[in-house]
């Protein structure tokens, strides 16, 4: 990974720890976005006008300092860069780890394959990340770009959401994705904060883990409320 001529400080800047910090920061940026996104989604319960108004308003936040849709584009760019860096770091670390652990067939013994104490969520980070990435593409094509339109295309964002989530398999696909997000956040939040140095004691560890559970639960449930609300006919 590092070339021979680098000083230790430069190697340290390219080290696994630095990569992990990059993952942590980009992950937390995306988490921040998810919280805002979830807040917006919940407006679907306030009715079409409120939701569409909110969706529209996103485009003119910051005006007149920023041009129309300026902030949105800034957010989009930051997110895109975050996603790319997050994925880059993930792939680099995954490849390193695969070699370091001594191949995929590590221990012959079939016992203790699940490890000693590790959480289920920690197993899901890598394939969970891939699922989430695929889902995000599908999601953008569906609700942002209006390319895929299960239940019928519509000009109104509210209508697009309602059209889509009246179909059970659309809700199912979102549910699976949100569970993947929840698991990813369960370990990811904990791991990001630890990587950034917050795991300072056993008590801190308990607090960070509790926080990670709360974040994962809030995000998962928060995102699933609108689809289920629509599917169950609470939102029309």
């Amino acid at each position: 990974m590092a070339t021979v001529s680098l000083t230790p400080a430069k190697k340290a800047a390219r080290s696994t720890v630095a990569l992990k910090a990059l993952m942590a920061v980009t992950g937390l940026i995306m988490l921040g976005y998810l919280i805002a996104h979830m807040y917006g989604n919940l407006k679907v319960f306030s009715g079409r006008a409120s939701f569409d108004n909110y969706a529209h308003h996103l485009r003119d936040i910051g005006e007149p300092v920023l041009p129309h849709t300026g902030l949105l584009w800034i957010i989009r760019v930051v997110l895109l860069v975050s996603v790319i860096l997050h994925a880059y770091a993930a792939i680099a670390l995954w490849r390193r780890a695969r070699v370091a652990r001594g191949g995929t067939k590590r221990y012959v013994s079939p016992k203790a394959r699940r490890g000693v104490q590790r959480s289920y969520a920690s197993f899901t980070m890598r394939w969970g990340g891939v699922i989430i990435a695929l889902f995000v593409i599908y999601h953008l094509l569906h609700l942002t770009a209006n390319v895929i339109a299960p239940g019928g295309a519509a000009g109104s964002p509210y209508q697009r959401v309602v059209n889509g989530f009246q179909i059970w398999w659309v809700v199912l696909s979102y549910t699976i994705a949100m569970i993947a997000v929840g698991l990813h956040l369960r370990h990811g939040t904990w791991s990001a904060l630890t990587t950034l140095g917050a795991n300072t004691s056993a008590a801190a560890r308990r607090r960070i883990n509790a926080l990670a559970y709360v974040v994962a639960a809030v995000i998962t449930i928060g995102f699933l409320l609108p689809p289920f609300g629509i599917l169950l006919g609470l939102v029309k």
């Binding site: 400080a9 190697k11 992990k20 070699v99 652990r101 630890t194």
Partner: protein, 248 residues
Amino acid sequence: MNITLRVWRQPNAETEGRMVTYGVENVSEHMSFLEMLDVLNERLTLEGDDPIAFDHDCREGICGQCGVVIDGQPHGPLQTTTCQLHMRSFADGAVIDVEPWRAEPFPVIKDLVVDRGAFDRIIQAGGYISVPTGSAPDAHATPVPKTDADMAFDAATCIACGACVAACPNGSAMLFTAAKVTHLNLLPQGQPERYSRVAGMVAQHDEEGFGGCTNIGECTAVCPKGIPFETISFLNRDLLGSLIKGNR
């Protein structure tokens, strides 16, 4: 008690290894795991079979030389060193799998013996305080808050056995590296080299081919000395500090 052992046998680094099954009879529950292997080796020798090579030395859990993966867990079912594991931890008739530490930077030398020289090189990259003999001030010149001294001590108890690497799904030696960084960087004596130390050691850790830490904690769950998990966060903080300060 009688047990069945499935042991990794590998004549040398170049030859492929495999699991070989041995029965061991009349095992006393008071025997240590290594004493049970001694008994088996005595028998193998008399039968003309090559005895199983395994690393061990002090047999009191402090030197860190012993260590095998027992039933998929480094040092076996208890959180202790292999030499301190006793047969009372196993049931009569148990089938026990015994394998060497597995990690790319720990090549197998023979059977259950691996080369952990990478650890020494990580220490060489900064795991010390530069104080030439004779140049020290009086021991009481610098008081150290007890809490710092205690935390430094907790980290300093690492015995470099390598179980953390053997348990880590990423083959990371972050707990080993972090233990030393925490020990030295917490003490006032370690401050002048604080950031160059962490940068040097992390760089060497990666250079050796260890993987990155994903904060899963398997290392601390098998560590026979209970090196605290927070040492890794401590290392992370200091490494980020060194990047911000732009040392060297």
